[in-house]
């Protein structure tokens, strides 16, 4: 077992990440000064692009592990998973932070980001989403706060937070359920724009289920990865449990998807070789079918490396799903209207910087906070 303090900060990877982060910050300032048109390739027919697709939709989906593990540990009282509850919540916190920063950069009038808090519009999904982001980020901060209080030795605060943890977690579960699904509901209003392969009145459920799938895989992925990086032994039982959970959710998700395909676009729509059908197939094969096949073999669930591979597949698949809904699913519509979109280098660098920020932030937290209490003691 290594001590936290043994984590080296100045590795080459860290330096590269840091450089990306700085470049992203500079780009963000440029965007704030000169506007979206100067920094992005967005246009009137592509109002939302890479930032919304990857940073917001992807980031939030990746953060789903937080509420699942927290719920499992604090509500269901599955003590086995307590070892990963802190990294899972921290991961979620970073996911939401990124989403919040991305939204801040993506809305044209960033300093009015507080407007939805005071100008309520219950008919707007976007309003629901923004309220959720704010509330859930606060919730996640609360859920993560024990680490800080421990570090700072603030016993009283720690005790208070620990005492209210159960309701806070329950609140977090509620918010996440609503938030993950409402991100899907954002696209409910564009039945004529989004390809029928993705558009469905069940979009909220699909987003929720796929987020759970993603969350479980993400937690598992990150447990294995940090075990490797920080050189401690992962709990195989926990990973097996996560893998089982992933398998169940994948089955549900696949059933939903297939049902929706049959009742919506029709099976032939997937095999007509068009742009959207190829993207749909790739998403389903990489993110659903392959993981399902692999996970259904017991040998896979028992082997760390195999679980890791499945995790990567699921994460890629759900990310691709979010990109498909956010970008490629409306490509045919926008192209028909004569528009095109390829993210500018600034959009790409800001996205890269977001990821770098999350990785670095996680590393710093791992070094200075007690992220793996159960592992250490």
């Amino acid at each position: 077992m290594t001590k936290n303090n043994d984590i080296k900060m100045m590795t080459p990877t860290t330096i590269v990440l840091f450089i990306i982060l700085v470049a992203g910050a500079v780009t963000a300032v440029y965007r704030m000064l000169f506007g979206l048109g100067a920094a992005t390739n967005l246009n009137d027919l592509w109002p939302w692009g890479f930032w919304i697709g990857v940073d917001v939709l992807g980031g939030v989906a990746m953060a789903a592990g937080g509420f699942i593990i927290a719920g499992a540990v604090y509500i269901l009282n599955w003590k086995k998973y307590k070892v990963i509850v802190r990294p899972a919540i921290l991961n979620a916190f970073f996911g939401y932070l990124l989403a919040a920063v991305s939204i801040f950069l993506d809305i044209g009038r960033s300093f009015r980001i507080w407007h939805p808090m005071v100008m309520w519009q219950v008919s707007s999904i976007m309003f629901i989403v923004s309220i959720h982001v704010v509330l859930y980020t606060t919730t996640l901060a609360t859920e993560s706060s024990p680490m800080i209080f421990e570090k700072l030795g603030m016993k009283k605060a720690l005790g208070f937070v620990n005492r209210i943890m159960a309701p806070v977690v329950l609140f977090g579960v509620l918010l996440s359920t609503l938030h993950q699904s409402s991100l899907g509901a954002v696209y409910l209003i564009i039945p004529t724009k989004l390809s029928p392969l993705w558009y469905s009145n069940k979009l909220p459920y699909m987003f929720l289920v796929s987020a759970v799938m993603m969350g479980l895989s993400m937690v598992s992925f990150e447990t294995i990865l940090s075990a490797r990086v920080f050189k401690h032994k992962p709990h195989m039982e926990v990973l097996k449990g996560l893998a089982r959970g992933t398998l169940i959710v994948i089955c549900v998700y696949l059933a939903l998807k297939v049902f929706d395909l049959i009742s919506g676009a029709g099976i032939s729509a997937v095999f007509n070789g068009s742009f959207t059908s190829n993207m749909w197939l790739l998403e389903m094969v990489a993110g659903v079918i392959l993981p399902l096949v692999l996970l259904s073999m017991k040998s896979t669930r028992n082997r760390l490396n195999s679980i890791f591979v499945v995790n990567i597949l699921v994460i890629l698949g759900v990310l691709l799903n979010r990109l498909n809904v956010g970008i490629f699913g409306v490509a045919e519509y926008a192209s028909m209207a004569g528009s095109d979109y390829f993210p500018s280098w600034m959009e790409l660098i800001v996205t890269a910087a977001m990821i770098a920020f999350a990785v670095l932030g996680f590393k710093v937290c791992a070094k200075y906070l007690d992220l793996y209490p159960e592992t250490q003691h």
């Binding site: 979206l36 009137d44 604090y74 008919s123 999904i125 005492r163 159960a166 579960v173």
Partner: protein, 330 residues
């Protein structure tokens, strides 16, 4: 832990039940019927000659305080070309500087007006002012509103955060964004609502030389549109110019219309009605557009939220109570 388990359960369950019982009725959120005093525009593509008078005057009369294109310190209308001369303006599309545009459809030799073989037709594109606007329902801060009396969908700059959800939500590709601004606004036609007080109406209609665009109450416009569809092609008809009840009429032979008034049912109906001689999808109107009310699709989800809250809170609390029954004195 011992202190608040009971209280917690009580509070949570109470909140949930209260929320579940207070679900907002679905229809209350968006109007379904066109308000009786609602105003709109009837655009008859068969009368349009492509002179772009409406575009020019739209810019001019909306570049004044409260106009759809106004911004502070404005000296000139927002021309598409930003050269210092500002002598020529030929917008290519709707944009943050143009909220009304004439486009053309041309096929083959383009010789015959309003024919879909070797023909051409014009199209006037601007906000359709939906009866149940998707953009209004989508805006998270209420920067887009529908006037309850005249039904105009208008924009409140002070509220807008620039999230562009309105652009995504609009089924007609109407709201446009000032991409080159550091504090961008959403721009769209607001039916010249700033001119009503002085007894004026939409500038595009006032300056249309042929009566291709006429302004009036939606009920009257619908009647007029249907009257035109019933006319025998080739027969002479005195088309009103400027407003639907205008005394100024322009007699003309009636063209062969597509037997449909675009905007009667599309997306739940709009206050901008269109007539054309060629199929509307050739003019860029989505053939597959739903007749349903778009905000309903979202509302179907939102209206379930209180139930979800109640279910999660009650269910979660109950689960917690069950799973933690042996943890006392932990």
């Amino acid at each position: 832990m011992e202190l608040n388990r009971r209280d917690f359960l009580k509070t949570v369950a109470g909140t949930g039940l209260a929320l579940a019982s207070q679900a907002i009725p679905a229809a209350a959120i968006m109007p379904r019927e066109v308000p009786p005093e609602a105003v709109g525009i009837l655009y008859d593509a068969t009368l349009c000659i492509g002179c772009k008078s409406c575009m020019v005057n739209c810019k001019q009369y909306n570049s004044v305080p409260d106009g759809a294109l106004y911004s502070k310190d404005m000296k000139n209308p927002p021309f598409e070309l930003t050269t210092p001369e500002k002598i020529w303006d030929a917008p290519k599309d709707l944009s943050g500087r143009t909220v009304n545009i004439i486009k053309a459809y041309k096929t083959g030799t383009g010789e015959n007006k309003d024919a879909d073989v070797n023909g051409y037709s014009f199209l006037k594109q601007h906000c359709l002012h939906c009866i149940s606007p998707a953009c209004v329902s989508a805006c998270p801060v209420g920067a887009l509103k529908k006037d309850p009396v005249n039904g105009v969908v208008y924009y409140i700059e002070d509220r807008c955060i620039g999230c562009r959800y309105c652009q995504l939500a609009c089924p007609f590709r109407i709201p446009r964004y000032e991409w080159d601004s550091a504090s961008p606004q959403v721009r769209k036609c607001q039916l010249c609502r700033h001119r009503y007080q002085e007894g004026k109406y939409a500038a595009c209609c006032e300056f249309c030389p042929t009566g291709a665009s006429i302004f009036g109450k939606v009920v009257d416009l619908r009647k007029e549109a249907e009257k035109r569809l019933a006319l025998q092609p080739g027969r002479e008809y005195a088309f009103p110019v400027q407003t639907v009840n205008s005394k100024y009429k322009m007699p003309r032979a009636v063209s062969k219309y597509q037997k449909h008034v675009y905007g009667l049912t599309e997306a739940g109906g709009t206050q901008y009605l269109l007539l054309a001689g060629i199929p509307f999808e050739l003019l860029g109107f989505n053939k597959n557009i739903t007749d349903g009310v778009l905000p309903d699709l979202t509302w179907a989800y939102i209206s379930k939220i209180p139930t979800v809250i109640a279910a999660v809170l009650i269910g979660g609390a109950a689960t917690w109570a069950i799973t933690h029954r042996n943890d006392k004195g932990e």
